[in-house]
């Protein structure tokens, strides 16, 4: 699955997107798997309440299922307009 990072999440992790192979069944499971990898992921996901997630380009919750999902994106609250 394609995992994307935006704004300061992208900066902390150090890349805009990557392909992730995972057995995780929910977004929260994916976050746990990423956090376990390296400190930079742990730093980016330290405060999950400061983050938003989109699943296949729709805003979702962290308990959203990953079955059939092609793209997950993590980012801070949006500041458009």
């Amino acid at each position: 699955m394609n995992v994307m990072y935006f704004a300061w999440v992208r900066e902390r992790i150090g890349l805009p997107q990557e392909v992730v192979e995972t057995d995780a069944t929910t977004v929260a499971g994916l976050v746990a798997a990423l956090v376990a990898r390296e400190d930079r992921y742990a730093a980016a996901f330290a405060d999950i309440s400061a983050l938003r997630v989109a699943v296949d380009q729709e805003l979702a919750d962290f308990d959203a299922p990953l079955a059939g999902v092609r793209e997950v994106a993590f980012f801070p609250p949006m500041t458009g307009g």
Binding site: W8, Q57, L59, P76, M78, T79, G80
Partner: protein
Amino acid sequence: MQVRVQSDAFDTGAELAEFAQGRHDIGAVVSFTGVVRDTVGDLHHMLIEHYPGMTERAIGGIVDQAVARWALADVLVIHRYGALAPGAPIMMVATAAGHRAEAFAAADFLMDYLKSRAPFWKKEVTRDGASWVAAKDADEQALKRW
């Protein structure tokens, strides 16, 4: 209904002059323009990041909601990304309707949702460094008005 997400600059006046032009069935046009603001005088430029694909989808969904809710003759949304100079227009919304209440409410609604539900992130670059603009609680609260 027209949505444009672009790095190119746009001219609010020229866009508004074109908008709903020649229509005799509208009585009210409201526009909002968001401008790069440099309060302190130290801003070099603003960087706007976005999520290509999701941006268009999110804005389209917000416009659909506005159209479903108010009797609108036309809607225009333009939002830039990339590096923007102080004083430059960031984005604009225009709504056309029979009466002023609908045109105002729809523009206000579109702005509240674009602010917090369209995937854009702003970073201010000053001489001293760069920092991401934090979302405001008030902006999230504003959504509850609708």
